[in-house]
Amino acid sequence: MRLGATFKVAGRALRKNKLRSVLTALGIIIGVGAVIAMVSIGNGAKAQVQAQIASLGQNILQVFSGSVTASGIRTGFGGAGTLKIEDAEAIRREVPGVAAVSEEVASTAQVAAGNQNWFTRILGESAEYFDIRQWPLADGASYSSQDVRSANKVCVIGHTTAYNIYGDEDPVGQVLRIKGVPFVVTGVLTQKGFSLQGTDQDDVVIMPFTSAMKRVAGGTTLRNINVQIASEDQIESAQQQIVSLLRQRHNIRSGRDDDFTVRNQQEVADTANATADVMTGLLFAVACVSLVVGGIGIMNIMLVSVTERTREIGVRLAVGAHGRDILTQFLIEAVVLSAMGGVIGIVAGIVASKVISMVKNWPTVISPLWMLIAFLVSAAVGIFFGFYPAREASRLDPIDALRYE
């Protein structure tokens, strides 16, 4: 039989029982809709992770005080105070491929100006920090290497801090008291948003690390060293060199654990992606279950349809239809039903992800590939679950079918 006519017959059969068709397709609609929505959200999250990793700066290695034990538990990570200013200097001097280094000291403190005060993070960094993180100033200027050497009482503040202390006033040139010590605000940073860990990166005061050590945090060790490598293909060798340099400087005998950790941004990205993959796996399981349920619904309704239309099948057989023609007809009907469910599901999924991204303010990225996959899978569900009823129909005896009441 001609395919066009077969589709027409299928369309008519489905239209005749509109509500039944829609209810039958609901399993597929929900399954596909959920997949499309969650893939959109998942892709949005991945894209955000990528963007945030990129916002840390290009080709960054972070060296933390403390180490990771064999079991993966961090001991005194960032807090053991094993990194010294001289270590950073040595890296700057001796490791080939290093483009910039920023010594980092971190603390928290109450800061105040006028009658406003605010509890915020204090970061001590070298003057190169803003270049490394590609974090330009919105207003004013950053501090200089001279300020770092002299441990001057200058700082740059993040957007959130600026807003909470100064409101609509211009903070540049104003005095900010940090733990009672007056600092001059030289600039305000552009907004960076939330980090992967969910902290507000703009809720910060950044000052020369020397000043931070001396006047705010105390101590002489660094929390970490941010190292920017000139090109991507040098990262690995630079990482190895840093490790051997620091082991040598810290007199760590071979066989002993490092007392520092070098973290590569790629590893962070890999971890985030692995998490996303677990999500995708769960998603896949949910999708499979709902598609199977939807498929059983289709099989059920196709069996009903075959029974209802036994006489029609008899007539078609009587006028010369082959078993194959009947098989194709019911198979196409099942596929039209499930593919239609797939299309409605895709639309519903897109709408749902748009709504979620609007209401929850999550980014979503709609994937055409997944739309195609969802469509093909729903069509395949129709073929798989439609096959048995269609085969039953095609095996009917013409006389029995014509006599069927």
């Binding site: 039989m1 001609r2 006519a5 008519r12 005749k16 006489r311 029609e312 008899g314 007539v315 078609r316 057989l317 009587a318 006028v319 010369g320 239809a321 082959h322 078993g323 194959r324 023609d325 013409p398 006389i399 014509l402």
Partner: protein, 261 residues
């Protein structure tokens, strides 16, 4: 046709045909050795009491069923042992069916009902050709202007004409009708006989099952069955001509005019 010529104009030949139905350990011998020859262009009425095996024989003649024993030559070819799909091809190309209960597809226009056999035929027709052919056939059974009507919008007689149109669309050699007037009143029955006689005059072989003696009189030959066997087989001596009967009935309805066009 060449095959038909070889068999001396015999289009249907049954040779000691048996049909035994088995359900569990019950055996029903519905047809017990029927031998029958029907020439091209004959008009045969198959009669007999209920349960005498008429429908069973018709199903075999119509290639809807295979004989348990015996041989069936259709147009010179043995079709007794063909496969399902081969039988379907014979039904499609050489045979036309008319049922007592019309068996039209519901919620489907007269045109699409008539087109149905063309969809399963060997020849691929364009939509325009399909339409042209089906409209032509509907016109020939007096349903011009009713092409888009659904069965529920047609009278019983009109539905049976759609069914006849469907049977005719592939220019069959044999038209088979199992009690075609069983669900119709006497006047409408005569109209259907008028169509059958006209088709028969154009050379189509007609085999029809009926219970009514007067309907059988429109045929040229009457075969009477009893207990699965042919009891009598004779030519009709006083044949009714439907066109004349219609005139006698006085053309009470305008529909009769269309039929005769």
């Amino acid at each position: 046709m060449s095959e038909g010529n070889q068999s001396n104009g015999v289009v249907v030949e049954l040779d000691d045909v048996h049909k035994i139905y088995r359900s569990g350990d019950m055996e029903v011998h519905a047809v017990c050795g029927v031998s029958l020859k029907i020439q091209t262009g004959e008009f045969v009425a198959l009669m007999g009491s209920s349960g005498s095996g008429k429908s069973t024989l018709m199903n075999i003649l119509g290639c809807l069923d295979r004989p348990t024993r015996g041989r069936y030559l259709l147009d010179g070819q043995d079709v007794s042992h063909l496969e399902r799909d081969q039988l379907a091809d014979y039904r499609n190309s050489k045979l036309g069916f008319v049922f007592q209960s019309f068996n039209l597809l519901p919620r489907t226009s007269a045109r699409e009902n008539v087109e149905l056999p063309l969809l399963y035929g060997a020849r691929r027709l364009t939509n325009a050709e399909l339409r042209e052919k089906s409209d032509e056939v509907l016109k020939s059974v007096g349903l011009a202007g009713r092409e888009d009507h659904h069965p529920s919008q047609l009278s019983g007689g009109q539905q049976q004409r759609v069914a006849i149109g469907r049977a005719l669309i592939n220019d069959p050699e044999v038209l088979l009708a199992d009690e075609p007037t069983g669900n119709l009143d006497s006047r409408t029955s005569v109209e259907i006989m008028e169509i059958f006689q006209r088709l028969n005059d154009h050379g189509i072989t007609v085999i029809m099952v009926t219970h009514e003696a007067d309907i059988a009189s429109y045929a040229r030959r009457n075969v009477v069955m009893r207990d699965g066997l042919v009891k009598t087989d004779r030519a009709v001596t006083q044949r009714f001509i439907a066109a004349d009967e219609m005139t006698k009935l006085g053309r009470l309805e305008p529909e009769a005019d269309e039929t005769q066009s």
